[in-house]
């Protein structure tokens, strides 16, 4: 069984390397964001598999945190790329919408 987990981990590592290649070469900023997002997902999966590989799978909380923070990071990047600032306040404009 460990062999299967190891093979899965290796496959995920290969995918991570591919995503890193995409993040390295770009060319557009959006490509990098997409690579960051994909990389985060792969890390979550890798952590889950690693838990089983080391025989102590009870710490999947870790994987959840990765997913969450990856989401926050991706959103921050997106937000920044669209408006050039984290500070713009949409509350007012959202409220006056019918």
């Amino acid at each position: 069984m460990n062999l299967v987990f190891g093979a899965a981990a290796m496959g995920l590592l290969v995918t991570m390397a591919l995503a890193m290649f995409r993040a390295t070469v770009g060319p557009s900023a959006y490509d990098r964001i997409s690579a960051l997002n994909a990389f985060g997902t792969k890390t979550v999966l890798l952590i889950a598999v690693l838990g089983f590989l080391s025989g102590r799978p009870e710490w999947l909380d870790l994987a959840l945190v990765y997913g969450l923070c990856n989401f926050v990071g991706t959103l921050a990047v997106l937000r920044f790329s669209k408006y050039g600032s984290l500070a713009k306040d949409e509350l007012a404009s959202a409220e006056d919408e019918p």
């Binding site: 069984m1 995918t15 995409r22 060319p27 997409s34 997902t41 999966l45 989401f71």
Partner: protein, 125 residues
């Protein structure tokens, strides 16, 4: 029973891993940002499902619940952020083809292809 579960685990796990690797290759080889996003995002969901469900078959009940919640989380956030990403790129007028694609195959787009590419978000609507 345990053997059946193990076999299911192997099938799902390796299938999911295969999906992610294919997605990774797609992220490298596909010609434009939107297609690459498709590769990254869609196989992401399938790959994550395969790996995490596969692990569920050999996990204790509590761990399986955690695995499923991780899966639900990924399915919500990854899909949402890919959607937002593509939308943001489209709003910024990112072309459907890069001006200089990463050329691994020596197959450049045909000279006339430039005209068919999407130029601005407003024109097609």
């Amino acid at each position: 029973m345990s053997a059946v579960l193990d076999a299911l685990c192997v099938v799902f796990l390796l299938g999911g891993t295969l999906f992610t690797v294919i997605g990774g290759i797609g992220m490298i080889r596909l010609p434009s940002f939107y297609t690459r996003c498709h590769a990254a995002g869609m196989t992401d969901s399938a790959g994550a499902a395969g790996v995490l469900l596969g692990l569920c078959f050999v996990a204790e009940p509590l761990v399986a619940v955690k695995l499923l919640s991780v899966l639900a989380f990924i399915w919500l956030t990854s899909v949402a952020s890919t959607h937002a990403l593509v939308k943001a790129a489209y709003a910024r007028g990112l072309r459907f083809y890069d001006e200089q694609p990463i050329d691994l195959t020596n197959k450049r787009p045909q000279p006339g292809a430039e005209d068919r590419t999407h130029k601005r978000s407003g024109e097609e609507e």
